[in-house]
Structures are given as C-alpha cells and as structure tokens.
C-alpha cells in the first residue's frame, strides 16, 4: 500500500479541507498519515521518513504558502528522501494572482504538482495514481 503524508503547513489553522483529504485518500486505498494543521516542513519530512512515504501532500489555505514551502525540497534532499513526490494545493498565495506564474514559482521550488485554488482533492487522484504507479 502506498503511503501519503498530509497536513496543513505553517501557521495555518484551516482544518476542514484536511479532514476531507484524509477521508478521500483513505477511501481511494492509500495509507494516509495525517499530521494535521500548524505543521512545519520538518514535521512533514520526519513523518515521511518514519513511514517510508511515497508522497507528501501539502495544503496551504491562508495565503502564505510561498514563504512556508520555500526550501522544502532542499530539506528533503538533506534528509535522504530526495526523490519523494511533493504536491501543494489549497489557496497557496494571497488573492487572485496569475496562476501560471504561481505554478512556475512552486515548480522551481521543487514541487512536482501545484494546484490552483478551488481544486478539489478528487481532481488530484488521477495524478497520484500516475505518479505513485498504482
């Protein structure tokens, strides 16, 4: 069974979406490790190491996603999980910025997939299946 670590990054307390993501991914047959809201990059990475996770799925709802996610890939490399899949979604930046630019920024930061505001988690299931090969 593939393992996915989920959580809400930074000082972000939006808890509802996180529960829905846990529910949806579990129903889709994944082993979900939910570290909850107010989680740091290190919390995600530590959990991924101990559980031998295949994917870290980061939520950011309050608009500070860019600051909170910066350097995460580098930390994964340092921690010995350089190849882990990284997704990010929610409302990752403030307001209505041009999404293709936002996407570019996050891809450059080393995220494998970046989702625009309002993407329900179900829309990502296809990508997950593709990336994790199951």
């Amino acid at each position: 069974m593939k393992t996915i670590v989920i959580g809400v990054i930074g000082a972000d307390v939006h808890a509802v979406g996180n529960k829905i993501i846990e529910f949806t991914l579990t129903n889709a047959g994944y082993h979900v490790v939910n570290i909850g809201v107010l989680s740091s990059q290190e919390d995600f990475i530590n959990a991924a190491i101990e559980t031998d996770a295949d994917l870290i799925l980061v939520s950011s709802l309050y608009g500070h996603g860019e600051i909170d996610c910066r350097g995460m890939r580098e930390k994964c490399i340092e921690a010995g999980i350089a190849d882990i899949c990284l997704y990010v979604g929610g409302n990752i930046v403030v307001g209505k910025q041009d999404f293709s630019e936002v996407q570019r920024t996050f891809l450059d930061m080393g995220f494998d997939r970046v989702y625009p505001p309002g993407t329900p988690i179900d829309n990502a299931l296809q990508d997950i299946r593709e990336d994790l090969g199951e």
Binding site: M1, V37, L38, I49, E50, D52
Partner: protein, 460 residues
C-alpha cells in the same frame, strides 16, 4: 501483624524502610553506604543493624523487597530513526523504565557509534525505527551492523513490525542476545510504552543485576524487583492518581536532585485546555526526564557548562564566590557533605540551577497564532501550569534549610510566557526519603503505600 522491609540500593546509600501493615505506618528508616564494589551485603547488614538499633530490638519481616540504582544504575542506549520521532520515543521508554540514557543515536549508525556503546558499558540497547509498515531498511541496517561488530549485550527491538522477521534472523545469525517487542511508535506521534518498558524491566532483573553483583543479595531477601527511578515513578503515579476510595493529590511534579543526575517527573495529562492545538510526539501521563549533566557532585561541572561566561562572572560577583573552583571541589570529592554555611550556600545555589534547568527541559512550550476568531495556541510538550503540588525528594533537597527556594525554581520565576511551568503550586518535601520504598510497597499493597506517602510527604 505483618512487617515489610523495603530497600533501595542507591548509588551512594543503601536505604531501608520498615513498615508495619497493621499500624499502617513506618516503623523506622535507616541507611548505610552502598557496598556493591566489594559485597553488596556488607552495606545492607550495616544498615540493618542501624535499623534494629533505632527500633531497639530485632524484628522479623514477612516480605523483604528492593529496588536498585547501584553500580551505575541501568545504562541504556536508545536508537531510532528520526530524532523528533522514534529516537525520542525510544528515549522516553528507557527513561520511563528507570534507565539512564547514556547514548542516543539516530538514522544509520556508524562503527564509531557502535564502539561508543561498548566504551560506555551500556547495559541494554533499545533499537527502534520506523512506524509500523514504514521505514524498515534503516533499522535492519543498524541491527546488522551491531551484529557484525559482535555486540552481545541485550538488545530489545521495538521498531517497525514489518522488520521483525529480518531482525530475528539477524539476531540468530550473529547469536545476539536479542528480544523482539511491540513498536514504541506504531504510528507517527503515537507512543506505545508498555511492552518495551516491561521488557527492559525483565532484562534488568534477569541479567543486569546479576552482572552488577546485586543479585547476591537475593540469598537474603525475597527479591530485587525494580530499578530505583522506576520505583519513584510508580510512587509518584500512585500519589497522583490515588487508589480505590483513597484520593490522590491530583496533578503533581516530583523533583529529585542527586549527585549525578537531576530527575523530573510530571503526573498530568498533556493539556486541560480546549483552545490549543497540540503538536509532536504523544506525551505520557507519567513522564520522567533525566538530566545527566545536572547534579550536585559528579555532574556539577555540567552546571557550569550550562552557564555563559557572563552569567558565571555575575554569579561570582553577586555571591562573592569562585563558582568554578567550588564546583571543581565537589567534583573531586563526590562524597563531601556541606561543612559550614558557605558550603550550604553554594550547594543551595547549585540545586537551584539544577531545578531551573531541569524544568526548562522537561516542560512544554506554547506559542500564539492569530486568527479573526481570536488567538489559537500551538503547544508542544506538557502543560504544567495547573500543577497542584511540586514535591522535592533526594538528599540535596531534603537536607537543605531552604527547600522552598529550590522548588520555586520549577515555577515561572522569569515570567517567560512560552514555558508552561507550574504557576502557583504548593511545595511538599519527601522528608523521610521514602518515595522509592513506597514504589516498592505499591507492588504489594498500593493502598498502604498511598496512605503512608500522604502522611509523610509534607508541606514545607
């Protein structure tokens, strides 16, 4: 009428506590130096003579049981994967079992680290790593390296259950003294203490006390049943929770400042508040932390190390002493007792630093996060703000005049809002030094142990 004799073979003193079950009271206590280096029985006999002298006659005991931290106590190495997770979980299990954790290792260990296990004369290794179903590679690698390097000291495997079969094979292949146990962290941030703790206790009794020359005493007494710090933890838990109709004291902290370590125990849930979000590894109700670098004699140099040069100069000026020299003196003569007011004054100061620092490391932290609904609080570690009693035990506290000034150092004297220290506790002292004994008595008669503690652990 039944008499029980409860013995604590401590690192320095062998302490006896005789209890009468009918009177529900302590008959007498007595102590003598621990003589484990030559023959543990000598010190016991001396202490027993003193006890009978105090009582005025010889008496018989229906039960004689003991705990021990003699001959260096129980020295353990905790190995895990990630520091904040399985390493921390393994460390906490060792501490909860009454061990001293002399080595803490993470990720793939190397040969130098394995050599350290040998050099430090570790008694038991606790090998963890990986949540169940998670990373197995690292812990298998570590077990194999330990095997290849010929490690024969007892090893408890308490990591990822998916690695159990491989680990068993490695234990067999290298003829290691291995034991398989439930994972200390089956899921991320979830702790499972009991199985590994019970295994540690069992190995301590089956093997370690024998190896340390403590077992010889079992010709004369019924049994050694616990490591001393574990007995204290059990006593603290009983005193906090109560037993049947006999009420406990509720949330408590116990501080034990010794020559080599400062032990802190807290008995309470992680938080009582509904407006906090709690982070990190699950916290046990009964938590013990040990500071191996904070102590009154062997570990006095650690106190100096924990101070900045500026702080040292300030202390020297303020107290008109040379604190480095004073510490040196105590380190070189670990059995020295204060001879005059000056010595007492220095010991008091050292104990205060131990109390302050040990709580700094034991206590939880909180930070505020703002939302339009008001503040939200992010907490890691235990919230001790509502602790009702802070209890002092151990010679350094019991024998000093100014007990309160030491125990006060566990509270928030510096008004640091991020540290969840006890706010306004009542200070108690284990005046007869009986907590370890009562942890032993708990195994036979918890109600009696509780009543005796409530009688003799008194307000300052």
């Amino acid at each position: 009428m039944a008499n029980y004799l409860l013995i604590d073979f401590g690192s320095t003193f062998t302490k006896l506590c005789a209890v009468n079950t009918e009177a529900e009271d302590i008959i007498e206590t007595a102590s003598y130096f621990t003589t484990v280096d030559t023959d543990i029985r000598t010190g016991y006999h001396e202490a027993l003579n003193r006890l009978f002298q105090k009582i005025g006659k010889q008496i018989d005991f229906e039960q004689v049981i003991a705990c021990s931290s003699a001959a260096g106590g129980l020295k353990m190495a905790a190995i895990g994967l990630v520091e904040e997770l399985t390493v921390e979980a393994a460390k906490r299990v060792c501490l909860g079992a009454g061990a001293k954790v002399d080595l803490v290792l993470s990720h793939h260990i190397n040969k130098t680290e394995v050599q350290k296990i040998v050099n430090h004369k570790i008694d038991i290794i606790l090998l963890a790593g990986g949540a169940d179903g998670g990373n197995a590679e690292c812990v298998i690698y570590n077990a194999r390296l330990l095997g290849e390097m010929g490690i024969k000291i007892p090893i408890i495997f308490a990591g990822n259950k998916s690695a159990q079969d491989d680990i068993s094979e490695i234990f067999n292949k290298y003829q290691m003294d291995g034991y398989i146990c439930d994972n200390v962290m089956p899921k991320v941030n979830v702790m499972n203490i009991d199985a590994a703790r019970d295994m540690i206790r069992k190995i301590f009794l089956d093997k370690i006390i024998e190896a340390k020359g403590i077992k010889a005493i079992e010709n004369e007494i019924d049994a050694v049943i616990l490591p001393t710090p574990n007995a204290v933890l059990e006593a603290a838990k009983l005193l906090s929770e109560g037993y049947l109709d006999e009420e406990g004291l509720g949330d408590i902290v116990v501080l034990d400042i010794g020559g080599a370590t400062t032990d802190m125990y807290s008995m309470c849930s992680v938080s009582k508040r509904s407006d906090v979000i709690i982070h990190g590894l699950e916290e046990p109700f009964a938590k013990r932390t040990v500071e191996g670098d904070l102590g009154m004699r062997y570990s006095a140099p650690g106190i100096i190390k924990s101070l900045s040069q500026q702080e040292i100069e300030f202390i020297n000026k303020e107290k008109k002493v040379d604190i480095k020299e004073e510490v040196e003196k105590r380190y070189n003569d670990v059995k020295c007792l204060p001879q005059n007011e000056h010595d007492e004054f220095i010991d008091l100061f050292l104990a205060e630093v131990c109390a302050y620092r040990a709580m700094h490391r034991h206590v939880g932290r909180i930070e505020e996060v703002y939302t339009p609904m008001g503040k939200v609080y992010n907490q890691t570690g235990k919230d001790l703000t509502d602790i009702k009693y802070v209890i002092g035990t151990g010679g350094a506290i019991i024998n000093t005049k100014d007990k309160e000034s030491i125990l006060k150092r566990t509270t928030n004297i510096l008004h640091n809002p991020s540290e969840l220290r006890p706010t306004d506790p009542i200070f108690l002292v284990d005046q007869k030094y009986i907590m370890a004994a009562m942890g032993l008595l708990k195994e036979k008669n918890p109600l009696l142990a509780l009543r005796i503690m409530k009688k003799y652990i008194v307000e300052i």
